[in-house]
Symmetry: C2
Subunit: 178 residues, 2 copies
Amino acid sequence: MSASYVLLGLLARGPMHGYELKHAYDQRLPRAKPLAFGQVYSTLGRLERDGLVTQAGQDQAGGPERTTFAITGEGRAALEAWLSDVEAPAPYVTSALLSKVVVALLVADPARATEYLSAQQQAHTTRMRELTRLKSDQDLTVGDHIAVDYALTHLDADLRWLQSALHRVADLHREVRS
Amino acid sequence: MSASYVLLGLLARGPMHGYELKHAYDQRLPRAKPLAFGQVYSTLGRLERDGLVTQAGQDQAGGPERTTFAITGEGRAALEAWLSDVEAPAPYVTSALLSKVVVALLVADPARATEYLSAQQQAHTTRMRELTRLKSDQDLTVGDHIAVDYALTHLDADLRWLQSALHRVADLHREVRS
DNA sequence: GACCACTATTCATCGAGTGAATAGTCTGCG
DNA sequence: CGCAGACTATTCACTCGATGAATAGTGGTC
C-alpha cells in the first residue's frame, strides 16, 4: 500500500516516533482510511528492516520509553522513486458495486439487480448531498476540501455508471445465464 | 473483501470444486483483480469453517482428487444479506493520487506536485483512449462492456479531480508547510 | 518415451489490518 | 491526599488477503 510511503514522507520532514507519526498522518490525510497505531509500528518495523528508516535514539523524557525513527538515504531514494512513479490508471476493475450486480443476476433475477442498483443510487445521492453541504463549511482545511472533491467526483462517476448499468441489466442477465 | 461473496454467489448456481470456481470467477468478472488459485482454496476454507459452504463429495474421475463444495442454507442467507446491503458510499477517501500529491508537497515543492499531477493526467488520458478504443470492439461481452464503462467513468472522475487539484496546489502547499 | 500442457490442490510466507493489553504520566477534583 | 480518568507510547496475538512455488496426476503429440 501507499501508507508506508506516506509515513516515509512524514519522516522526511524530520525524525519522529510512532505515536507522533500516527497523529501527523491523521492531520495530513484527514478523511483517509483510519490508520491504527498498531499498523504504524508494524510498518515502521518493515521500513527499518528494509533500511529505509533507522532508529535515531531512545527517549525517556517523562512518559513511556519511545523510539525515534529517521529516514535514511535509501529511504529518501525510495520515496523519490515513488513520487516519480505514475500510478497505473485502472489496470483492472474491482468494485463492490459491479460484483454485486453480477452476483445478483447470477443468483436472482433482473428485478433483484434493478432493486439493488436503485437502492445504491439513492444512497449515493444522499451521500453526495451530505458532502456537498460539508463543502460549504468555512472551517474546512484545504486537505479536507481536496479529499471531499475526490469523493464527490467519484460518487458522481458511480452514479453515472449505475445509471448505465440499469440500462444493461437485461443484456447482462441474458449473458450471465448462458 | 467481496471476493468471498462472489464465490458464494457462483456456488449458489450449483456445487463446484475450487478449480472450476476459479474459472467461473474469471469468466463472470473479467477485468477484475486477478484471483489466484491459492486464494480460492483459502477462501473456501474460511467459508466452510463459517458454515456457509460444505464439502459435497470427493471426486476422482480421471485426474487429481478434487473436492466439490456446495452452498448451505446459512450460505444462501449470508449471500442474500450481502445483496440487500447497500455499499457505504465513500465513507473515507483512500487514493494513491491524493496521498502522492500531499507527500509531494510535504517533501518537495509545488513544482514537484504539479509535475506529478501533469504526468498522471497524461497517463490517465492515454488509458482512457485505450479503453474507449476497446469499447468499439465487436467481440466484447456485456460483462466486459460494463466493466470498461466503470473504469472510464472513474478515469474521467480522476481527471476532473486532477485538474481541480492542480488549481489548489499552492493553497495546499501553504497549509501542509505550516 | 520424453516433453508439454492442463487439471487440481497444498503450502509457506508476507503484508495489511484489528482490538486488546500493558504501562507509565499528568490533571483535576472531592 | 488519593484516586479516577485521560493521554502518551508501544507491544502482542490473531485473522484476512495475496503471492509464488511445490506437488502430483493425466492426456496428447512429435
